[in-house]
Amino acid sequence: MSRATLETLRRELQGLASSEAPPGLLQRILDSRAAGVRVALPRTERDHTRWIIAALAAAAVLALVINIRTGERSPAGAETDYGDIAAALSFLPRAAMAQQAGPARTPRYDLVHHLDGSRAHAGTWTYETCTTTDDVLTKCGSRLRITVHEGQRAEQPVWVMIQRVAFVRGWSSTNDTIYVPPDTTYFARQTLRPLSWSLTGDRIHVVRQFTPDSVHEAVDITGPHPRSWHSSAKLPGAADDPLVVRWARFDVPLLLQALPLARGWQGSVYSVGLIGRVPGASPFPPLDFRVVGNERIDVPAGRFDCWRVEMRIGDETVMTLWASKDRGWLIKTKQGKPDWQAESTLISATPPAP
């Protein structure tokens, strides 16, 4: 649209007729006041409540990591926008960031035992996330790359999974990209039980070490305000049950490759969030998986016949996952509320899709 045309349209819009206030409105207002009617007007400050609640624990740390990593702060007046962080990371459901306060949840389905980890395999998968607000596409371009390879740890065969996230910062006028420090997880190759998880930024180091029955967490922050905390907790479930590690995302891609997905299948797996610094919270909510259908979908990486899997925490559907029937690859995820959705799709994979 040319500038002249645009200006003409704007002038015409500004010239649109409007209605005039009815003559009796002032008296109605005064009568209401006199009759004791009171109206609580909405606050005009930007409401971050939902994001603050959602981002209770991990996102706060994540924001810290990001700012430390880039050496930047958001511009004055642009409050830390958890919406941008959450929207950029499709594997960052709000419920994943927040610890689930209150009593420990019980699994909805039978816990998954004796997983066959040999069904998983090495490779690299790259996803792109797009977000939509009120049915209007608002942002694409955020990338998550997951690399899985075989390794050895303490003479034990393991899967090493490295996840890297890069997302476009919404508040920036230059559309610059934020690189979250990669996190690395070691899984026992046969059971997919995590053995350790770590993330190292310029000034933060987080490690979670797993033993058969417990997890030990250490968070160390350096810089002008150094602080550390170390915590331990007993893990729920059996010693060789799979666990989903939560940080900024649910680490489900490797798990999906090994789950016995089939029509009508359902099962629960405990997840592990941050265990320290969240008093009164339950860090191990179970994730309840249920196959709700099958679908052939096209994504940039190819066409896949998929199981559609619902993932829930408690009563809330956290995410819908599409996992390929042949290899259990995570092909697509979708999450959100009626006015906000985020969708991630597989854009490339190595080895390539068959």
């Binding site: 649209m1 003409t8 649109l16 007729a17 206030a21 006041r33 006199a34 609580a40 209007v136």
Partner: protein
């Protein structure tokens, strides 16, 4: 004008409204009521809703002023409050799936100005998320940052919606405009 910057007479008027003076409230209404009504009407598109919005704003104003911190322009604050109330009402109406009678009757209304009617119809036909942004940005003169804050969306979303709204309007109105 900020209340503090205005000081003197205007500051005293605000204090009187805070204290519950009907005369002071009436003075504020005479000063700002018409502009706020137009804003509410543009957002809700019905006289009844606009009237209710302005009614609620002024009825709630004395108590709301207790938390008005006198930062920034007073008129901007008042318009933001009005827009918020209008949006709340609009969302409630959307949830109830009500169709305003004025819109339902629009086809039967004789067009006073053919061009204006075409534009009005095109604006009415926009989905609410697009229409509201274009009204706030292009008609009321808000910045994208202000629109984003009002609607709880990102600045990028505000830009996208405004651009889409203008593109749709132009398409409806024809390439010659």
């Amino acid at each position: 004008m900020s209340a503090s910057a205005a000081g003197g007479e205007f500051g005293a008027l605000i204090e009187a409204v805070r204290a519950g003076s009907p005369e002071a409230l009436a003075s504020l209404y005479r000063e700002y009521g018409a502009a706020l009504y137009r804003l509410a009407y543009r957002l809700t598109e019905t006289r009844e809703d606009a009237e209710d919005v302005v009614h609620d704003v002024f009825v709630g104003l004395p108590e709301a002023l207790a938390r008005y911190e006198e930062r920034g322009k007073w008129t901007s604050w008042l318009k933001r409050v009005t827009a918020r109330v209008a949006l709340v009402r609009l969302r409630a109406r959307t949830r109830r799936r009500e169709v305003p009678l004025e819109l339902a009757d629009q086809a039967a209304r004789p067009p006073a100005d053919p061009d204006a009617t075409v534009l009005e119809s095109a604006v009415h036909a926009l989905p609410d998320p697009l229409r509201i942004v274009v009204m706030l940005k292009e008609v009321e003169g808000y910045s994208h940052r202000e629109v984003a804050d009002l609607l709880g969306i990102s600045v990028g979303a505000s830009r996208v919606r405004a651009a889409r709204a203008l593109a749709r309007l132009r398409k409806v109105l024809g390439d010659g405009r």
